[in-house]
């Protein structure tokens, strides 16, 4: 029987995918890991992971002020 799961299909680069896999270790939101550039996740977690990625980029940027 074919199973149809509703969620969000994500296309990203390899680095972002690794970050998402690490975040997944704490809060499980990945429904299926598709391939090197795509993931299928639970839609409810989308904003949370976007903010997490943003914070990560922020922490790793040099700010001259």
């Amino acid at each position: 029987m074919v199973k149809a799961i509703k969620g969000t299909f994500i296309e990203c680069d390899a680095a972002a995918r690794e970050v998402l896999l690490r975040l997944n270790a704490e809060e499980k939101f990945i429904i299926e890991d598709l391939d090197k550039f795509h993931l299928f996740i639970n839609s409810n977690y989308l904003t949370r992971i976007q903010t997490a990625l943003d914070e990560l980029m922020d922490n790793n940027t040099y700010k001259s002020q």
Partner: protein, 467 residues
């Protein structure tokens, strides 16, 4: 480059509006020579060429002959232009030949030769007491327009500027066009409002006029009258007084509302003067009027000349003291110091991210900086340092590292055949996002799912029957 693209955009939006009008409305719009001339000016160069060539032809011309006017590798472009003109109802096609819409043809001929009823071009005022100089007009127009922009940026409580609060009609247009939102207590600017602020003034005026048209349509006034009046206004000459006697009541009402935007100046109920904001709409930047030089020197002070210098280290130096321009710069530049005629700052990651969060795109920031660049910068190619423009685009891309799409994931296909069938089906419909033939899994978009679910059910039904 930026000026041309925003003009094209507005030519297309007004073209879309005209296309959406039903045929009888179009016929009525075409019956005014001023409207025909204004529409003609809004067309692209190829469109204008086509219309001019067919203007004095007595019989329809075959499409193949038109095809011969262009080189072979541009045939498709010519065909698409003809199609566009047909959508605007300027061309009539029958049995493979095209000709100009007869009403449009006659009125355009009238417009060009000065025949027919030219009151649609505006009746000049014949009294002797009309003495408003172009400087006064320019000052008035800039004051009103900047008051509106100030209001949008949220700087309306300037202590030293005693401008009258904005009228209700201006507020309702801002609300309807979704440039601002909110009620009688206070209005806040929206994302599209921010984008509006960064455009050049011609595009801004066009947006306002189109929104005014839509508002009038919603209130069920006669759109054709409004359109005809708009086209008339656009072809008026700067610095001359025009009489209001020939106008209908709704046109006079329109005059009152456009006055609040600084597009018209009216000191006496019998006459009005168009300002440079509205007369420069169809003249694509280059005006041949001798009057324009005087106006240009007035404009230098408040807007259109370049004043921004952008260095390769992202520092910005803006030679301006206008609070409005400083407020607009503040949207995406981190301003550091202010002098009497100069403001300095830098384009930082934080300032650009702030702007991006408000819905402004990197392209808009770059276009704004390019079109307002100091004349010294404009001598170089490219105008802005590549390092800075690339960095702004990279900061925008940083926000879009993930590309999410709402989708459905399919797995657990019993047999390879079913999988292949659904796969082909999804590919034909164009809803397939991802598929893996070894693991027999795939992802399709939300809309595609409903149709595929039906087909899957049918397949299961037929499988059961076979067994």
């Amino acid at each position: 480059m930026s000026q041309i693209s925003s003009e094209d955009e507005f030519k297309t939006t007004i073209a879309e509006y005209l296309e959406s009008l039903p045929t009888q409305f179009c016929q009525r719009v075409f019956s005014s020579p001023a409207a025909c001339l204004a529409i003609f000016r809004l067309l692209s160069t190829v469109g204008k060429q086509l219309i001019m060539s067919m203007l004095y032809l007595k019989s329809p011309i075959r499409l193949q002959e038109i095809g011969q006017w262009a080189k072979p590798d541009h045939q498709r472009m010519v065909k698409s232009k003809i199609h566009q003109l047909r959508k605007l109802q300027l061309l009539v096609e029958e049995k493979g030949s095209v000709s100009l819409n007869p009403i449009f043809r006659k009125q355009l001929q009238n417009a060009l030769t000065g025949g027919g009823d030219f009151s649609s071009f505006g009746v000049p005022y014949t009294g002797d007491d009309a003495v408003v100089s172009t400087k006064q007009l320019a000052k008035y127009a800039n004051e009103r327009w900047e008051a509106i922009l100030h209001f949008m940026v949220g700087r309306s409580s300037q202590a030293h500027e005693m401008l009258a609060p904005l009228s209700e009609s201006v507020r309702s247009i801002l609300r309807v066009s979704k440039l601002m939102e909110g009620g009688p207590e206070g209005m806040t600017i929206t994302n599209s409002g921010f984008q509006f602020l960064l455009q050049d003034s011609a595009s801004q005026v066009w947006t306002v006029l189109l929104q005014y048209l839509k508002l009038e349509e919603m209130q069920n006034t006669d759109v054709v009258e409004v359109l005809n009046f708009l086209f008339q206004l656009v072809s008026l000459q700067l610095g001359r007084a025009y009489s209001t006697e020939a106008l209908t009541r709704s046109q006079r009402k329109m005059l009152g509302e456009l006055r609040d935007f600084g597009l018209i100046f009216q000191d006496n109920p019998k006459r009005f003067y168009p300002t440079h904001l509205i007369t420069s709409l169809t003249s694509s930047g280059m005006s041949n009027d001798s009057v324009s030089d005087a106006v240009q020197s007035e404009l230098t002070k408040s807007s259109q000349h370049g004043y921004i210098i952008l260095e390769t280290n992202c520092r910005v130096y803006a030679y301006t003291d206008s609070p409005l321009q400083i407020a607009i710069l503040n949207l995406f530049v981190h301003l550091v110091s202010r002098f009497t005629n100069l403001v300095t700052g830098a384009v930082t990651r934080d300032s650009v991210r702030r702007a991006l969060a408000h819905g402004i795109t990197a392209d808009q920031i770059i276009t704004f900086l390019t079109s307002n660049a100091h004349p010294q910068m404009q001598g170089k190619t490219p105008v802005l340092p590549v390092t800075v423009t690339d960095q702004i685009r990279l900061w925008e891309q940083e926000r879009n590292r993930l590309k999410p799409t709402s989708a459905f994931f399919y797995k657990g296909f019993p047999q390879r055949q079913n999988f292949e069938r659904v796969l082909r089906c999804a590919q034909d419909m164009g809803v397939l996002l991802w598929a893996n033939s070894e693991k027999l899994q795939m992802a399709v978009t939300l809309q595609g799912h409903a149709r595929i679910a039906e087909i899957s059910k049918q397949q299961r039904g037929s499988n059961a029957q076979e067994q």
